[in-house]
Subunit: 368 residues, 2 copies
DNA sequence: GTGAAAGCGCTAACAT
DNA sequence: ATGTTAGCGCTTTCAC
């Protein structure tokens, strides 16, 4: 049985050289495609490479050339669809340009964020795509600036005076949510969010609030922002409801809040949307297969990744223009979890056949 | 405005040396904690390090020492909660031992899987945690073996004669699902799965089938296995239902199948669990906040990651015993989506108040 | 105790 | 057209 991990010393460029009867320099030239090599020798080099199944050690090579074809990516977590997709896209785009992507998760900690950044700096990465825990003014950004790192910030950012930023146009999306809710007659909305994600949360909240107030001055907007953890938000929400507050709709500014809201609805034995409507920022695959299907703001993940990489490589290639700030438009999907308040259209339907309502004919493509 | 990306040459060990008035060798010794350095000199070195904010270039250092403190991780995708958590855990465990984790996604392609493996081999990673697209016999495993790489395989594997494997005990979990369904009186179950994930799917299917047949020989089990894509599964499921087949329960062998099943239920205007029960392999956060809450098999993510890393580092440290095969027990959460067939307990409840049923008093902790 | 020298695997001038 | 030499940033004998 062939054993694993023998760690047989891999052939070096010198092994190839002696095998082919040339010098290491020649091998290097052949492999980097320098034209000035006699084709007979080139051939012998290729044969030796083949025989020894030699491959360049990219890290050694890049050490010598003092540049590393590595892009770092830092996200708050790997577990969510959103950041998972972001990393997937960044990986694809980096590899497209012949770079390797090294991804790490800050696990919602700014300390860890900076540590990762230090490591990436130690690795001499060519550039970093940073999705900061909090916003564009944290210690990570400061570290990048101080150390002259090349980077682009995404997602939980508004605008930086040092780095390019790319994010979803949260304010516009929130305004659209406001219009949709107002149009359906909602005049008392609870907005829930996480405090620490300052940049994004405020954009989302303000976008909603200003639009709502503009078109429905009688709108009452309650806000519950918790710290970074989910538990306090749940507690606050529970206490809010137990005080007898009954908004007709909830707008959650982030995915976990949507889950919290749903679970609190269950706890109160409220039916969505008959008793209360729900819209959440961030879409997820499951939201279109549940009953009711959950209305959501869809972030343009691929576009964000694309723009970020474009800007990053522009910087890597030497562009030193002023920092750019990109806002990419979201899509708002008004699904079944939103209906006019008190309309009870589902409840009414049910009375007729004794069954909860189902929208049978809708096809629900899972592909996103 | 301080510009980014200046790429000011970073201080090297020689800069520190001259700053401290010693040689590079001495600096190296101090930094690696060799005791035989006069403390006065050590102090000056530390000061210089501080002043220049010098940091060792780990890649250069490891080049010289011909070992790289890097662990590679390859997963089929980043987007799912399961693999997201796996990567998070692996990252944590690798860093705990002073290694960096470099994660990559094969995007369900065996070709890409091997390419990634080649790159990691080029990088001279110390070891690899591979979650193969298909199973332990694919080209990736062959590549690792041929090249004497150190590695552990997880998730979609049963047992390898070359590498350690760690996976959830799919068969046992499936048997438990079978018992639960049989106990509730189900005698016609549809099992759906994805064909290409051969290793896992078969363990899950066989575990279910043999247990069901053992305790309920009259059980009818239909099986729909599709290729790797979701679309054909959906089509097959739709055609199956449109033929008039009416199993009383569906057991989905993987998460995406659970979503497909739910969306097809909707399409048929069937109510879960009144009309049909549903259990899925793989849990997700949202499954406990929907109505009905979805019954699911919970994989022991952290344990899998832990065991994988333990085995891997044992190999890295030279263990060359025979390959081990670890099966970690799952938890089966029988939530509301499973009820006795035709029981209509929800339907009955509804008749009384004209509302769909809600389990109000259940608290649904989101923490997993 | 310390530093000069050699070298990890590779590349780039510079000779030839 | 090729090989020699020097060196990327670091570590490690091995003399002193």
């Amino acid at each position: 049985m062939a054993r694993q991990g023998l760690n047989q010393r891999r052939p070096s460029i010198h092994d190839v050289a002696s095998h082919a009867g040339v010098s290491a320099a020649t091998v290097s030239k052949v492999l980097r495609g320098v034209a000035t090599v006699k084709s007979a020798n080139a051939k012998r080099v290729f044969e030796a490479v083949e025989q020894l199944s030699y491959r360049i050690d990219p890290l050694a090579s890049e050490l010598r050339r003092s540049k590393r074809r590595i892009i770092g990516a830092i996200v708050p977590e790997f577990e969510s669809e959103f950041f998972g997709s972001i990393v997937t896209e960044l990986e694809r785009l980096a590899e497209q340009r012949g770079y390797a992507l090294v991804a790490a998760s800050s696990r919602e900690s700014e300390t860890r964020e900076t540590e990762i950044l230090e490591r990436m700096h130690d690795w001499r990465v060519s550039g970093v795509v940073l999705s900061p825990v909090r916003n564009e003014h944290g210690p990570a950004a400061a570290f990048m600036k101080t150390n002259g790192m090349t980077g682009v910030m995404i997602d939980r950012v508004i605008a930086s005076d040092t780095f390019d930023t790319v994010s979803a146009d949260s304010a516009a999306a929130s305004a659209e949510v406001a219009r949709a809710l107002v149009a359906r007659g909602h005049r008392h909305v609870l907005v829930i969010g996480l405090g620490e994600q300052a940049a994004t949360v405020h954009a989302r909240l303000d976008g909603f609030r200003s639009q709502a107030q503009a078109i429905a001055p009688d709108m009452r907007i309650d806000v519950i922002l918790s710290e970074s953890e989910v538990a306090p938000l749940r507690a606050a929400l529970r206490s809010y409801f137990s005080k007898g507050e009954r908004p007709t709709a909830v707008y959650s500014l982030f995915l976990k809040g949507t889950l919290v809201a749903l679970s609190e609805f269950r706890r109160q034995a409220w039916h969505c949307p008959a008793d209360i409507s729900l819209v959440g920022f961030d879409d997820a695959e499951w939201m279109q297969v549940t009953f009711p299907a959950i209305a959501a703001v869809v972030q343009p993940v691929r576009r964000i990744a694309m723009q970020a990489m474009d800007l990053l490589f522009r910087r890597i290639e030497g562009d030193d223009g002023p920092p750019r700030m990109l806002l990419e438009p979201c899509k708002v999907l008004m699904r079944e979890s939103v209906s006019p308040p008190g309309s009870d259209r589902f409840r009414d339907q049910k009375a007729s056949n004794g069954l909860p309502p189902q929208v049978g004919a809708i096809s629900c493509p899972l592909t996103t």
